[in-house]
Amino acid sequence: MAPDLLLTARNLTKKFGDFTAVDGIDVEVRKGEAFGFLGPNGAGKSSTMRMVGAVSPVTSGELRIFGLDPETHAQQIKARLGNCPQKDLLDEELSVEENLWVYGRFFGLSKAEVRERATELLEFAQLTERRADKVEHLSGGMKRRLVIARSLINNPELLLLDEPTTGLDPQARHILWDRLFRLKRQGVTLIITTHYMDEAEQLCDRLVVMDKGAIAAEGSPKDLIARYSTREVVEVRFDADDHGAFADSLSGIGERMEVLPDRILLYADDGDAATAAIADRGIDTLSTLVRRSTLEDVFLHLTGRTLID
């Protein structure tokens, strides 16, 4: 294996009884990359992350992290990983800084080391003022930031972030993206799961679109949009309950159409031209909105469904 491949998965599969949560995926993540799993609820993102985090056994296929097999080298892998799971898993009875200290000690760090790192990480997570408060009394977003700070306590080379910004307000989310971006610049490899397409676009160099346990597409956000969507999209709304009835009247405008319950999406490289074409046909719309294509459109095209259902 090439030395700069931190993660390789071949035909990686996870079954729970008869149910296949992860269905033979192939993934490679290089050192220094920010890699994303984008997919809706139940896609198998967390199941994949738990296998990569060496806390859930692989059902079949091959998985290597740092070139090591999690079945035989879980401890060595976990010592070098940062794990921010989807659930916070904090001890709410302890204070903010105590949570960092005890967790750092689990890695065998000395008291002096955990105290020094905790001070830095509290600053990183903007929790310095709340350091002595019981975790119980923090808001959901603050707990999330604490979990992310905690996952960095052992100075990980690879950071697993399972829906890191769920529960954060928009401002906190942007600050966190900024932090993660800086971590990445300093050489930490990031693996992120999300069902927010803006998060995937902002953070990920490369991502896979995951659906029903399988990978539907892979590439950089830009590549994927270029490959699976047009440059622009026109969102057309009608004053009606059933948008399907208007599909025929719009056919032929743009390259492709998606009919959703509450709107119709027209895919076109020139959105304004498409809007003009709608007006030319004298169609009575409630609103038309031209916007750039996003990963949401990629997902819709690949799966026929929206990301957040």
Partner: protein, 289 residues
């Protein structure tokens, strides 16, 4: 917010910051030996223990005092007056080892019920431990070490109080302490299986009603099991508490080593080990799926 996050990155030269601290530097990290693994997890339980110590202190000393006042002195004066104690032993001396073992059982059970379900189901903190370089066995061993310590402290506190009441009259009584730890663990480890498998904590009230309370009454702690209907005696033989009480009472009386001491110890050890084995499996099934 500090602009310089270089200290947070894997590429920071850690040697300059923590000479020899290879657990923070990129690449293979210095592994933890198993003693160290269990030790760092015990340290976490120790933090929790210290937090609740004051509350626990009250129950650990107050409860024995109440027990001894009512059972030892109250009931004891009746027993001693009417029949000269139990087999010639004053009732207080007779009942104290029984109460030590009951205390050990109660602490073992208390620590292995709701707290375990908390770690597995509620805050799921065992999972957080498993995200660090620890296995299920490390996580459970550390918790058991702490429970054993808790039982030891509680049984010891009880004996100190009992000694003040005049219920301890031989240094041999100290041998009851390791027995008490075994009794606590014989109840604790099997209960971890319940914590890992149960859907919710309502099972515990059944455990208390159907197992713990009857055992406390019918395991020879307060009166000889020979006084039970004959068909109930084998039930007592099957339970860890009776074996602990037999050993503890022999230690307290400083008399000859009971003939069956190895059987008594063996039963307690067997409960502990079988419980431990099944609980590792159950917790693994639950958390490492």
């Amino acid at each position: 917010m500090s602009e310089d996050l270089s200290s947070l990155s894997a590429e920071a030269p850690p040697a300059a910051r923590h000479p020899g601290a290879s657990r923070l530097s990129a690449g293979a990290r210095r592994p933890l030996g198993w003693v160290e693994r269990v030790g760092v997890l015990v340290a976490y339980h120790w933090v929790l223990f210290k937090r609740t110590f004051h509350g626990a202190l009250v129950s650990r000393f107050l409860l024995p005092v109440l027990f001894l006042a009512s059972m030892g002195l109250g009931v004891g004066s009746l027993v001693d007056e009417s029949s000269g104690g139990v087999d010639g032993v004053p009732y207080l001396i007779y009942v104290v080892p029984g109460l030590v073992m009951v205390t050990a059982m109660n602490v073992g059970v208390g620590e292995a019920t709701w707290p375990v379900m908390g770690f597995i189901k509620w805050n799921e903190f065992y999972r957080a431990m498993l995200h660090t370089p620890h296995r299920v066995l490390d996580v459970l061993l550390a918790h058991w070490v702490m429970i054993a310590f808790n039982v030891l402290i509680s049984a010891g506190a009880f004996m100190v109080v009992a000694a003040l009441f005049g219920g301890v009259d031989s240094w041999w009584s100290l041998l009851a302490l390791p027995v008490a730890v075994l009794v606590g663990m014989a109840f604790a480890t099997p209960l971890f299986v319940v914590g890992a498998k149960a859907a919710n904590d309502s099972i515990y009230s059944a455990v208390f009603r159907l197992v713990i309370t009857p055992l406390m009454l019918f395991s020879g702690a307060f009166f000889p099991i020979e006084n039970l209907p004959f068909w109930m005696q084998p039930v007592a033989w099957a339970t860890p508490l009776w074996h602990g009480v037999e050993l503890g009472r022999a230690a307290f009386l400083g008399g000859p080593v009971p003939d069956l001491w190895a059987v008594h110890v063996g039963v307690l050890v067997a409960y502990t080990l079988v419980g431990a084995w099944f609980s590792v499996r159950a917790v693994r099934d639950r958390l490492v799926a």
